[in-house]
Symmetry: C2
Subunit: 238 residues, 2 copies
DNA sequence: CGAACTTTGTGCGGCTCCGCACGGAACCTC
DNA sequence: GAGGTTCCGTGCGGAGCCGCACAAAGTTCG
């Protein structure tokens, strides 16, 4: 799932790669390289989206929150395999979720209207719809993990999904940040990380988690990792 | 959210209602009235979908399962406001989920290829994409509920979503069925139902739950019900 | 009407995670 | 290098749900 190349035409993001030249004027000419600092709020709940982001590095996170704003949970994780602003592909300009940069990185952004224009091109629309489908499969499996897995396994799953989207094996994140994503206590993350460390799967230091044994993490998650990834692979190959 | 009318052109299903006449030959002529017996499997994981279902009554349920098939959870609930087979709208023919009839009812079905033809019509495609969007918001909020709510609140949320989709106030379901949807013990459902009963919100008898106090149920769920419903209302009015 | 089956009620020990709380370690700033 | 800030480690009592198990009540069918 790792793609290394960088460039000026959207290279480095898998949704933009290998798209037909017909999109050059409609879309690629309008892509604007941006950096994605940690904590940047990309989309606010129920407010019109102005820019679509295509990461080439780093991780952004889609957070569902309840009506009273007192509960929130990560519902989707997006890296260079994907995009923000999927609701535009679905024909609307806003969603009730919040989207923020979870792990700093880089990418391109595009005005939402430019994307709307470009969606007239069938190959692009189909590709982005396929991505929206895999993202919603990912969300469904997050619902599954939240209901059925113990905290250490959920943490392992999250680390795997994150690892898929970064270069190298080091995730720069605090326990506190993770606890919000997983919807648990910060102390719970600390303890669960120790469990993973005890099995030699990761090494945690202040603000950083190094993945040591991917295979081991996958075993720990026991079948609750990989289905959305397989769906992505099925639809995005070619 | 209640729609009562029945007919021969898809009336009774809110996605099919008030669509332009241009779709008559492409789609409405091919709609086939069907009954939806409880337990009917509408879609199998990773197998091509042959028919799309538009319920006019009853409830169908989209279930996400892990790779090893030993864990499953309801990821989406669909009634006469929606449809099965959303992956066809997204441009593919299969998904890793299973779809079954949860509460017996009626509806129309359509060959998947007929839907593919009809999607060429912009108004239909936009409407169905909007629905897919709200369904994925629903899934995200299921992930939220699974992570943050206690069992009695999750049960209340499920009953509310179900109540939105049926006529009357009686849900015909066993505790066992519910426990599978919620991913918990059957005995846990029994106890939680007693809690709801104790507060006068529902009345449970063998194989049946009667909703007595919707407002009370909504209060019990505390802001974790209603966001997907509001998104549906926003996009589907007109 | 009695037997077989389905559904619901209840209990018990145990694990997981919660809320709360505090101390210590690492890092940053002046 | 002193002081503040952020981050991490740990502990305690308790709530919630688990797995397991069994009894009772309702339903179906011969």
């Amino acid at each position: 799932m790792k793609v290394e190349e960088k460039g000026t035409r959207g290279e480095g993001n898998q949704l933009l790669a290998r798209m037909p030249a017909a999109l050059a004027d409609l879309m690629f000419a309008h892509l604007e390289p941006v950096s994605l600092p940690q904590g940047l709020v990309i989309e606010q709940p129920n407010e019109p989206v102005e820019h679509i982001y295509f990461p080439t590095g780093g991780v952004i996170s889609i957070v569902a929150m309840n009506g009273e704003g007192n509960a929130q949970i990560e519902a989707g994780l997006v890296g260079r395999e994907g995009m923000s602003g999927t609701m535009v592909v679905m024909g609307t300009d806003r969603s009730p979720h919040q989207t923020t940069v979870q792990i700093a990185g880089t990418g391109y952004r595009l005005e939402a209207d430019r994307l709307r224009d470009a969606l007239e091109q069938e190959p692009l629309r189909e590709r982005l719809l396929h991505y929206c489908h895999t993202l919603s499969v990912q969300t469904a499996h997050t619902a599954l993990a939240n209901a059925k897995l113990k905290l250490d396994a959920r943490l392992a799953r999250w680390l795997l999904m994150c690892h898929d989207r970064i270069d190298g094996d080091e995730v720069m994140l605090t326990h506190d940040f993770l606890s919000i994503m997983l919807g648990v206590r910060r102390a719970g993350v600390t303890v669960s990380l120790h469990i993973l460390e005890g099995q030699g799967l990761v090494r945690a230091t202040r603000g950083q988690i190094r993945i040591l044994n991917r295979r081991g993490l996958e075993e720990m998650v026991g079948g609750c990792y990989g289905v959305p990834e397989a769906e992505y692979a099925r639809l995005m190959r070619d």
